[in-house]
């Protein structure tokens, strides 16, 4: 596997410049950038020309990861030339949130499943029920095929998100990449590091990923009360208090974060299911445990590959972590670097949702507030 990585910013242009060393030999280019850069399309066209034979896969973000640096308003490009791996992909438009399951099904069915090893998915970050999307994918793929990916982001704005596959970046789209070949090794890991606090609350009214009431009281009012003056920053500030959900006693909880709010009916839209009858607890950040979480995810994803280091690690981390860690956000990427070693190329983005099994052999799920890492290597 040969990799070329460059970053574009308004002030500094491409560094290193110009991109395109791999030229016609690149098979795949990953592009993670701010909404506006992708929307304008100028840099994407430039990349397309520099790597004429490569498939382009990318999305808008809430922060781009370039090595151990986290930047906003940039475009991070990672061109990959595989030696033993074949790839294929597609993208579809999704109509409505309730069609998320069907979208997953259609995407999975579009892939030739023979020799398929791994599926990497990038989805619209707002108009989607990530849980349903994952269920649609899982149901239509062989169990041995692993799935990772994430929901695209829009900074702290939560207005519009974009996904691109070969053509221009588009809203309300989901793209999927299939990787084939028995010499490709994939590792993945996902960890949060948030602490639950306060009383456990029963979800007394919800529909799919829309939450109305906890313990018979407005969930939105509860959030506003806890956020105080930061309530005006909703929905972004809602990410400071993710929800931990569990259906039964002793069950490992899943974490859910807010995508949007609706003042009219006092509802809150979450990135995944918030089932009625489940128990929810507010969560709060613990700086050290967040960084430990990233390191833990890195270890899990690296161990899966064995002794040799990964060629590439794609880091998809939740925007909520970035909102909390602020200037210290790079500490979690540095933690990943320490685990991966110097040889591994790091890229990735800050997302509105992460897709991965927690660990190997676990069921693929939509996560929130985690650092989710997928490692690639060819032997």
């Amino acid at each position: 596997m040969k990799i070329e990585q460059n970053r574009w910013t308004e002030g500094k242009g491409w560094e290193p410049a110009p991109p395109g060393k791999l030229g016609r030999s690149a098979d795949l280019v990953l592009l993670f950038g701010s909404r506006n850069i992708l929307k304008s399309g100028a840099q994407v066209d430039l990349i397309k020309k520099a790597f004429p034979k490569a498939h382009l896969l990318g999305c808008s973000t809430a922060g781009e990861i370039y090595d151990t640096q986290v930047t906003d308003d940039s475009l991070v490009m990672t061109a990959i030339q595989f030696e033993h791996t074949r790839i294929n992909g597609t993208r579809i438009k999704i109509g409505e949130v309730k069609d998320s399951f069907q979208a997953g099904e259609r995407l999975a069915q579009s892939l030739d499943q023979k020799g398929l090893v791994h599926v990497f998915v990038l989805s619209d970050g707002l108009k989607i029920n990530g849980s349903d999307l994952v269920r649609g994918l899982t149901k239509n793929l062989p169990p041995e095929v692993s799935i990772t990916g994430g929901l695209s982001g829009d900074g702290e704005y939560f207005l519009e998100t974009f996904v691109l596959w070969d053509g221009p970046a588009e809203r309300e789209a989901v793209a999927i990449l299939g990787l084939y070949g028995d010499r490709l090794k994939i590792g993945y890991g996902s960890l949060g590091g948030w602490d639950s606090f306060g009383p456990e609350r029963l979800i007394t009214r919800s529909e799919g990923n829309v939450l109305y009431e906890l313990d018979g009281k407005s969930a939105l009012d509860l959030y506003k009360n806890y956020l105080g003056e930061h309530a005006k920053g909703l929905p972004a500030t809602g990410l400071l208090f993710p929800l931990s959900l569990r259906m039964q006693e002793g069950e490992t909880g899943v974490v859910r974060t807010i995508l949007s709010i609706n003042e009219k009916d006092k509802s809150m839209v979450f990135a995944g299911d918030v089932p009625q009858g489940a128990y929810a607890r507010l969560m709060k950040a613990n700086f050290d445990r967040l960084i430990d979480g990233s390191i833990g995810a890195a270890k899990t994803s690296r161990e899966a590959l064995g002794a040799a280091p990964a060629d590439l690690a794609v880091l998809i981390s939740c925007v909520g972590r970035k909102l909390v860690l602020k200037q210290r956000i790079e500490e979690e990427v540095e933690g990943v670097r320490d685990v991966m070693g110097a040889r591994t190329v790091l890229t990735g983005f800050y997302s509105y949702g992460e897709i991965s099994p927690f660990t190997h052999n676990a069921k693929c799920e939509l996560h929130n507030q985690t650092m989710t890492i997928t490692t690639f290597s060819e032997r």
Binding site: G198, P199, H230, L240, Q327
Partner: protein, 626 residues
């Protein structure tokens, strides 16, 4: 531009100088530090706010739970307690106070052993320790003696460990339920299943149990087991005449006496009514039984004084002995009953079972079964025996006599089936059939132009006791169209004497209707002359035993003469039964007896023959008018 964070501004002033003095290449750094300071402040403020809010929420939830919890445990009728790792009580609800008599203030903080020792209970503390070892204990049949009242109650306890979130045992809980009342009910129920409610003696159920156990032991001990089945003679008469209260008191007294007749370990049982059974276990020889029998009979020879009445009653006893008379409960009970029936038949006080009895009993059973179907199969018929006026030689009446033509046995004599019919109450429908048939026949003869005669029908004790008797007679007369004055009802003295009051009412009504009443077998029963005055009696029938020896025995002649004289003076008619010879007729004629009945004139005849005789007699009379 916003002023710098107050802390940063102070630090800059102290260590660098006025902010305006800071070199421009440092401005970006100062700005980043300023932002970080502000962010930390914001984070801290929000964290403090959220912790404050959540602690308020938890406090609220906690106090709500506490109220509910206290309400629940205080309103529970069960005793509820909780204890810590050292077995010291931390919760002691009002239910516990009620059960133990120990207040919450005294119990809380005290060690379980100390508290329960004061309730004379040592197990309780043990259960608590088991709960602390992680076990869930269910203890039934606990009993405490409550402090203060000294009342002993019965309880069920449920003990379970209490875990903290980490799964460590931090104490335990117990729920103590008062089951005293339930237990009392159970005991009462158990008692009522096994004891007679009147005498409180073991009932048939318990007797059968004990007999079963005795029979299980007997083969090992090689001992005998005796079963005495007993009932009281004339108990019904006492019950009917003196009332049920006296009857019940008599049964209680009998029960008490029977108990004194037996050894410890033997059983006197009361099977209800006047029936008792005695189980004699572990008998070395059968000779032991007569000793017990003698003892029982001796006790009965003394009178019972009940509510001012001095009552005598005697038992009839049937005896069966294991192993000779049966090896199982059922056959031993059945055979002692058979022996009892035999004792009653023979009017003996007791009777040991004999194998031949069962043959007779089964024959009787078969007879009873066919008797039940005899009416519907129309196996009964009537014979008629004429009554003749002695002076005129004229036909004056007929006595209707029932016969049973059994499909296999032929004609069964009345003596064999009437007592059985009496006993099984079949006499009621049979008696009604006899009455209606006799009335209908008489009416037919009248319709055929015969001289009207009086038809006599016998009444048994049961028929007389039947409350519908008057109605039955009335309906028979209406349905057949026979005038009441042609019907005569015959009853014996002993039948008349049972239940005097009721009989008197029925007979008065019948008499008022115009029906005649005759006393059958006069001179053999009570012969209490008072009833001749009391009841509306038209005629007396002299018993055949006096008539039979009339020519030989001067005593009988004297009796017959006395009866006739008595009847004359009371203005009653006299009929002699069983007249077989001319000599007997001559004497009766000389004694001025009114009428006679017997083989001398005619045996009982089928209806057709009786009709012919009636016709001949009528024609003869026409030829030779008096």
């Amino acid at each position: 531009m916003e002023p710098l964070h107050s802390l940063l501004l102070r630090q800059l002033k102290r260590h660098v100088g006025q902010p305006s003095a800071i070199p421009s290449e440092w401005q970006a750094l100062v700005h980043a530090v300023d932002k970080a300071y502000r962010q930390f402040d914001e984070d801290r403020t929000m964290m403090e706010r959220s912790l404050d809010l959540s602690s308020q929420e938890l406090l609220h939830a906690n106090s709500e739970m506490r109220v509910i919890f206290e309400r629940l445990i205080n309103s529970s009728v069960d005793g509820i307690l909780a204890f810590d790792r050292d077995c010291r009580f931390t919760v002691w609800n009002p239910g516990m106070e009620r059960i133990t008599g120990i207040g919450k203030d005294e119990a809380n903080g005290k060690n379980a052993s100390d508290i329960f020792l004061s309730l004379q209970d040592t197990d309780e503390a043990q259960f608590l320790r088991e709960a602390l070892r992680g076990k869930t204990v269910v203890a039934k049949n606990r009993s405490y003696v409550a402090r203060g009242t000294g009342h002993q109650g019965f309880f069920e306890g449920y003990y379970s460990p209490l875990f903290n979130e980490a799964g460590m045992i931090i104490g335990g809980l117990a729920v103590i339920r008062d089951v005293t009342e339930q237990k009392q009910w159970e005991e009462r129920l158990k008692h009522s299943v096994n004891y007679d409610p009147l005498s409180d003696l073991p009932n048939r159920n318990l007797f059968t149990d004990r007999l079963t156990q005795a029979l299980a032991r007997a083969p090992w001990s090689k001992r005998r087991v005796g079963i005495l089945f007993l009932d009281l003679n004339r108990f019904k008469v006492i019950n009917d005449t003196l009332g049920h209260e006296v009857g019940d008191l008599l049964l209680k007294n009998v029960a008490a006496r029977l108990v004194t007749c037996i050894r410890n370990g033997d059983t006197v049982a009361h099977f209800g009514g006047d029936k008792f059974a005695i189980l004699l276990e572990d008998l070395a020889q059968a000779d032991d039984i007569p000793k017990v029998l003698q003892k029982i009979l001796a006790f009965f020879s003394e009178s019972f004084l009940i509510e001012g009445h001095e009552l005598f009653t005697t038992p009839s006893i049937g005896v069966s002995v294991y192993p000779n008379d049966g090896k199982d409960v059922e056959s031993l009970l059945k055979n002692s009953n058979t022996a009892l029936l035999r004792a009653k038949e023979q009017s003996s006080q007791y009777q040991f079972y004999l194998p031949t009895m069962n043959v007779k009993a089964s024959q009787r059973l078969a007879l009873e079964s066919s008797l039940r179907h005899a009416l519907e199969r129309q196996e009964f018929l009537l014979h008629y025996q004429p009554k003749v006026a002695i002076k005129s030689g004229q036909f004056v009446g007929m006595e209707a006599l029932v016969r049973w033509r059994h499909p296999e046995k032929g004609i069964v004599p009345p003596a064999e089936f009437i007592p059985l019919a009496e006993e099984t109450a079949l006499i009621i429908p049979i008696g009604e059939w006899v009455l209606r048939t006799a009335c209908a026949q008489t009416k037919t003869w009248q319709a055929e132009g015969m001289v009207p005669i009086l038809i006599a029908v016998n009444l048994s004790a049961r028929q007389l006791q039947n409350q519908n008797l008057v109605e039955i007679v009335q309906r028979a007369l209406i349905d057949t169209g026979l005038a009441p004055r042609y019907l005569e009802l015959e009853l014996t003295e002993s039948v008349l004497m049972q239940n005097l009051e009721a009989n008197s009412v029925s007979l008065d009504k019948l008499h008022a209707m115009g029906v005649e009443i005759a006393i059958d077998d006069f001179g053999t029963g009570y012969s209490s002359l008072a009833y001749l005055k009391r009841f509306p009696i038209n005629s007396l029938k002299i018993d055949r035993s006096f008539v039979r020896d009339l020519t030989l025995d001067s005593d009988d002649q004297a009796i017959v003469k006395a009866i006739i004289t008595l009847a004359r003076s009371l203005k009653r008619k006299v009929v002699a039964e069983g007249v077989e010879t001319e000599e007997q007729l001559e004497i009766l004629r000389s004694l001025d007896c009114d009428e006679m009945q017997g083989y001398l004139f005619s045996k009982p005849l089928p209806a057709e023959d009786a009709g012919k005789l009636l016709k001949e007699n009528m024609e003869r009379q026409k030829r030779t008018p008096l």
